[in-house]
Structures are given as C-alpha cells and as structure tokens.
C-alpha cells in the first residue's frame, strides 16, 4: 500500500520521459524497419562479394539491429541519464528530500521504490517498443528470414546499458563528495561498462560485466542513500 504509493509517485515522475522515448523509438524504429522491408530487401546481399558465406544471425542483424540499434542505444542511454537526474538530482533543487524522507516507511523502501520505478520505466517504454518491433520484423511477410533470438537479446542489452547509465547517474547524484573525487565514480563506471560492452560481443562476457557493474552500483547506491544526510 505505502510502497505502491511511493512507486506510483516515482513512476509518474518518469512518465513524460517514458512516453517521449517510447514514441520516438516506435516512430523511428518502425519507419526504418518498414522502409527496409519495402525497399532495402536485398541491399546487403548485393554488396557481398560472391562466394561469401553469410550466416543467419549476421543477415538478420543487418536487417534489424543495424538500423534500429543506434537509435535504441542513444535513447536508452539518454533515458538513463534523464531518469537518474529526475530521481536523484532534482529533489536537491526542489528541496523535497525532507518531505519525501519523513514517511512512515523505511529509507530502504523509499530508495527501492525509486529504483523499481526506474527499471519499470525502461521495460515499459523501450522494452515494449523493442518487443513490438521485433515481432514486426519476425513476420514472414516483412523479412523473408526472421531475425534470430540473439538479435532480440542484443536489443535488450542496449536497454540494460541504459539502466547502467541510470544507476551511474543516481550514484553520482547521491554522492556528497566533490566532483573531482568520488562523486564522479558512478558516471565513470557506467561509461566504462558501456564502452567495453560495445567493443566485445560474447554474450556471456557482456552479461557478466553488466551484472557486476549493476551489483557494484546498487550496493554503492544503497550504502550512500542509507547513510547520507539530507
């Protein structure tokens, strides 16, 4: 009941950004896939030199993620930064921390509500649109060869990187240290993880680095939030 009230409040604060990002991704991604389906059909095959062996994944990657991926990535990181600022920086400027923290719930719940809302925001806005686009691309009348599951998972990796950006922004926002000392740690860690993820393509490696960074960020966020002064 109380947690739901908190969750509703935090989600409502994300809502404008969720809608903006979802609509943008849906419009751009939908347009690109549709254009590719109609006009770009064999573009990629024709550029390949004769005799090249094309694997299934690579082919469908070109059809879908190569087009929508950069958009998904940028929107995801952008959403992460914006939500991180909304949830953990704006309350300093509006001075609403004291009002929020004097609740008949534990501090942990207040933080958990924020983080849950942030995660839900990603899943609902970018996640559902990505599922919808993937479903559209998988239809046989759109692309002759439907995209592989790996393509689908790689889309989710971009979304998870947005979440890492969100947590990094959150940690930097909560830290009371100076920028040139540990305050910047959250953002730096998020950047490092994002960059290394983009440059390595074994799924196991990616998931491990994301999982480790999320674990580090979460523990630091909880530690800072429960201990800091407002």
């Amino acid at each position: 009941m109380r947690f739901l009230a908190l969750l509703r409040k935090e989600l409502r604060e994300c809502l404008p950004w969720m809608l903006l990002v979802a609509i943008a991704f849906f419009a751009v991604g939908g347009f690109l896939l549709r254009a590719e389906a109609y006009y770009g059909g064999y573009r990629h095959y024709s550029r390949l030199s004769p005799g090249t062996v094309v694997d299934h994944y690579q082919l469908t990657y070109y059809q879908t993620l190569n087009l929508t991926g950069p958009w998904l990535f940028c929107l995801s990181i952008g959403l992460g930064l914006v939500l991180g600022v909304r949830h953990f920086w704006i309350p300093h400027f509006t001075r609403t921390w004291p009002f929020l923290l004097h609740r008949s719930v534990s501090r942990k719940s207040i933080l958990a509500a924020k983080l849950t809302a942030g995660t839900i925001a990603f899943v609902i806005s970018l996640g559902t649109v990505w599922v919808a686009l993937y479903w559209y691309a998988s239809r046989p009348e759109v692309f002759a060869i439907p995209p592989t599951v790996r393509v689908f998972i790689e889309g989710w990796i971009f979304i998870m990187l947005g979440l890492v950006a969100y947590l990094g922004t959150a940690l930097s926002g909560l830290s009371t240290a100076n920028w040139y000392t540990t305050k910047i740690f959250g953002l730096v860690l998020a950047t490092v993880i994002i960059v290394t993820t983009l440059s390595q393509w074994t799924l196991a490696g990616i998931f491990t680095s994301i999982a480790v960074s999320v674990a580090i960020l979460l523990s630091q966020i909880f530690d800072t939030f429960l201990r800091r002064e407002f």
């Binding site: 009941m1 109380r2 739901l4 009230a5 509703r8 409040k9 409502r12 604060e13 509006t94 001075r95 609403t96 921390w97 004291p98 009002f99 923290l101 004097h102 609740r103 008949s104 719930v105 534990s106 201990r227 002064e229 407002f230």
Partner: protein, 307 residues
C-alpha cells in the same frame, strides 16, 4: 507524570569545521506548544533535521517519542508530523494527488473530513497543481497535510516565514486546534515573536548553536529584565550584580540586562552602589529576545549625531 516527547542529549553537529549545533540538551514535555526561536543561522533547522534523523549528529543523540532519531521506525514516524522549511512539496502533484499520496502513509489516522474542511476553509482548488499555487496557498496545503493525520508530535520548521498575517493566523489556529486534543505536542521554529508569544506556553532559545533557554514562556518573560540606574556623580567601576548579562554605561547612567534577578535583589544592589534612582523597565518579548541573544558589548548600529 508528564511524558517527555522530545529529548536531546549533547546533540552536536559540525559542518566541516563550522559548529552548527553545540551540545544541545533539550527536553520537551508532552502537551505543550513550544516556540523554538533563535536568530538566522542559530542552528534551528539543523537541530530539527537532526531530531528527525535527516542529518547525522557529530556527537550526542536525540529521541522522539522514545525512539532514537537515527533509527526512527516507520511506526514512530507515523505519529510525528513534520512541516518542512519553505513548505517544499512535489511540484507536479495536484492538491488531490498529494492528499492521496500523504493519506496512504496514515491508513488508520487520516481524517478525510478534516482535510476536506481545511481545503474548503482555505478556498483552495483541489485540482490545481502545487507549482501553480502561491507561497501562501502552498503553506496552507502543507499545514492541512500535516494536521490531517492527527500527529502526536508536530514539528514545524519556520512555517510562517514570508506569509501574510491572515495565513500566519491560520497556522496559529491550527496549532491551538491540535493542542486541544489529548496529549498532542507542537514544536515550531519562528522569527515572529508575536506569534510565539500568542500560542506558546514554552520557549526554547538557541543562539549560535547553544541552548540559551528552555522554560515556560512566563518564566522567560519574568526572567529577562532591563534596569536603568542613575547616579549622582559617576557610575560604579565594577558591576557585580547577580545574573548580569549586559551592561551599558553612559556618564551617569547604567543600563543593565539581568536574567533571573529578583526585584528585591535589584533594589538592594542599587542601594549598595549608591544609585540615586533605579527603574525596572518592562520589556516586551521581542526586546527581551534581542537583548538576550545580543553579543556582549553590542552598540546600537545607528546613532544620531548630537547637534
């Protein structure tokens, strides 16, 4: 026996090397309205935030309703109302949304009718967003939100700052209304001593982080006195009267600010020092406060040149 609802022991807070609150030992009994006064930067907000567990003390501790401030359980917070400095509420919420939000944290104690009555009394539009309200209207919402759950202890951080006389009066009415219920206690900080005098029965004075007074308002009113003594030739070199806070002298007059010195004692001292006349000046609360918190040796800022 009257219960102590708010208690601090050696509560101390440093910001870096700046001392904000200095060994505060405070006990507030149940059932009073306590005016918490001090000059700007005296440490009132810091003390209140320490009590509510929003800040961590450098040393010492504080307890609200018997529970340590640093580990206020949700069940205890539920019994405490807190009106934050500047009435900072979520700007994007409408009054109705904020009511729903606040109510969900007080499932049993929230008084729907009381809140509705207050909003109607203040003539506030429920659908209006907080960011579109004036400062006064936002303060009224904040007051209604704090009173509707019927808190046992209400702590307000300078609630009437910058508000007009009518809204200030509503805050005072709200405090009186709350205190009439069984076992309620109010602590509010303020710069408006007229307000403090009107509704408080207890006064806490803090100056540069140090507790200077914690007593009933009447005791404070009776304790701080100004005495003017006139001498025939010159003022005595040494002023050794009990309870002396400040001493200003001109050629033939002494102006003393005394604390807890009986009139009888003043008379005897005046006789002993050979004063021609003496006069105990009745001060109002504001003058008492200004004299009480003035740094020693203070002179008036502006002086008329003698023509």
């Amino acid at each position: 026996m009257i219960e102590t609802v708010l208690e601090t022991e050696g509560l101390t807070k440093y910001y870096g090397s700046t001392l904000a609150v200095d060994h505060l030992d405070l006990k507030i009994p149940q059932g009073c309205i306590c005016g918490f006064v001090g000059r700007n930067g005296a440490g009132k907000t810091t003390a209140i935030k320490l009590m509510l567990g929003l800040l961590r003390p450098t040393a010492g501790s504080s307890r609200l309703l018997g529970c340590d401030s640093q580990q206020l359980k949700p069940a205890i917070r539920q019994r405490i109302g807190y009106v934050t400095e500047g009435h900072r509420l979520f700007r994007w919420m409408s009054i109705a949304e904020l009511e729903k939000f606040q109510r969900s944290f007080f499932p049993k104690q929230w008084d729907d009718k009381f809140f509705a009555d207050m909003i109607e009394y203040f003539n506030l539009p429920r659908r209006r967003k907080i960011k579109h309200l004036s400062n006064g209207e936002r303060a009224q919402v904040s007051l209604a939100l704090a009173l509707a759950p019927n808190p046992e202890l209400l702590i307000m951080d300078d609630p009437t700052l910058g508000l007009d006389a009518a809204i200030r009066r509503q805050f005072l009415e709200g405090m009186i209304e709350l205190i009439m219920r069984q076992g309620r206690t109010v602590l509010f900080s303020s710069h408006i001593l007229g307000d403090v005098e009107r509704v408080s029965d207890r006064i806490v004075v803090i100056d540069k982080g140090v507790l200077r007074a914690n007593c009933s308002l009447e005791e404070f009113r009776a304790a701080v006195k100004k005495v003017i003594l006139s001498f025939a030739d010159s003022t005595p070199a040494e002023v050794d009267i009990d309870g002396l806070l400040h001493c200003r002298r001109s050629e033939k007059e002494l102006e003393l600010i005394l604390v807890s010195t009986t009139d009888d004692h003043i008379g005897k001292w005046a006789d002993r020092t050979g004063a021609e006349r003496y006069h105990i000046v009745k001060m109002n609360l504001e003058d008492q406060f200004i004299e009480f918190t003035a740094p020693p040796g203070r002179k008036k800022l502006f002086r008329w040149e003698e023509i």
